[in-house]
Symmetry: C2
Subunit: 299 residues, 2 copies
Amino acid sequence: MRIGFIGLGIMGKPMAKNLLAADFDVTVFDLNTAAIQELAALGANPATSPAETAEGQDVIFTMLPAHPHVEAVLFGENGVAETVKQGAIVVDMSSISPVYSKQFAAQLAEKGVHFIDAPVSGGEPKAIDGTLAIMAGGQPNIYEKAYPALEAMGGQIILVGDTGSGTTAKLANQIMVNVNIAAMSEALVLAAKAGIDVEKMYQAIRGGLAGSAVLDAKVPLILERNFVAGGRIDINAKDLTNVLDTGSALGVSLPLSGQVLEMYEEMKAEGKGADDHGGLVQHYEKLAGIKVQKEVNAK
Amino acid sequence: MRIGFIGLGIMGKPMAKNLLAADFDVTVFDLNTAAIQELAALGANPATSPAETAEGQDVIFTMLPAHPHVEAVLFGENGVAETVKQGAIVVDMSSISPVYSKQFAAQLAEKGVHFIDAPVSGGEPKAIDGTLAIMAGGQPNIYEKAYPALEAMGGQIILVGDTGSGTTAKLANQIMVNVNIAAMSEALVLAAKAGIDVEKMYQAIRGGLAGSAVLDAKVPLILERNFVAGGRIDINAKDLTNVLDTGSALGVSLPLSGQVLEMYEEMKAEGKGADDHGGLVQHYEKLAGIKVQKEVNAK
């Protein structure tokens, strides 16, 4: 299988590396030429545009920040659509609104090109390990053709349904991740302000119904005051904007998602957009006049 | 160790049974005499009042709905305080505000009686199995004396800190449980309204950062439209009221907890207060005009 891969950022770079490690023939492109060179040194074919990346490939992956980037890479000047061969599969692994997944799928179908939306969850660590959760939408026979390449990047890979099902599942995923982070923040700041040992409390409750992947991933980082992303606040704010746009289009009330987005927008305005989303705890801390940390709360 | 146990409800009854199974001498009381008889048939000594339950005991457990019940049982007519011996330990396992835990501890201290606040998490199944998460607050030497009895009821038992630390940890726990349920509800209803297979989506995301104990406990029940409590909405509303009272007293902003409490109050007004808190999804479904269920979303 000949593969094109466009978007070598925090997530895309290790994902492309895992395709190379699985012995696929991979052509890569990014606006950051240093990232192209890094992959080329590992055996990738360097390209100078999305069009060149796509030419002659069986599957073209895109892993980009938001839907305008995907649109430009697919349909802009020197875009994928100029060169992609009939019967090829475009797999967009970016986190975008299902509205755009369906639009891109329709535009590509006019050229006889297939489309799978396949956003991921798990962050940089799982991108590096090749154990990402991949939630896909599209036709089963097309999904099966792309599956061997997805398998090189993912741990848990599930075809959720038709086109747009993958990006919808990712929106649902992002609601839970970010609202769970806010729930954790309210709990930690209340406990810290009450003067109890937050680390002991975490140990006491993590095995019960309050337990979550968010709690286990973020509490140790918060106690060390480590807000290096990880999952950036500005990227998660973009996801929650897509959540609310989709909710508005479908007529679904999402008050907690809206409230967390407001907090993220405030933090972006304060220059904290590049912080990890676990850094949301700082928003609550500022209002409460306290910090959740080991030193303060330890006996 | 001679034990008194007051409050034989959904939680208290199996907890008292586990104390009997561990060969403690247990005297029991509840307003529901059938529950007393059920325990007496298993070897407990039946009592006719809190005062009679407490007389001569080393440790007196209370497991009651809210702080007024605890106050009445401890300090009301025929209450524990009338008969409890000096040096005894009152262990209140109810979920109440730490404000009251501290007040009760101070009142008992005047009589030379010790106090531990030790609320639990894990619900009826873990109460039956004797594997509750128990988060305790109080003096370490007193906690250690009560520990053998706690061990008969709990799986994970942790002394979080001084008096009130257990009830504070429980409030933090309830914030996360209930806000995580709301987050799940927003995610499930958005996905269902978008027409995707919610069960497949759940399988796709449960292993990632969106994963939680709430998700694993509640999604299967929601898909089967099973809202039998479990954790009742009205009891969790009481817990969130304690959360907001405590936040207000300490100066901690808790907007998501407040919003979930509002939804619970609406559901109580609609006669759904006895539903499981996983039934919160119905609030979102009503607004979206859809139901999250197997039949509707399955292909």
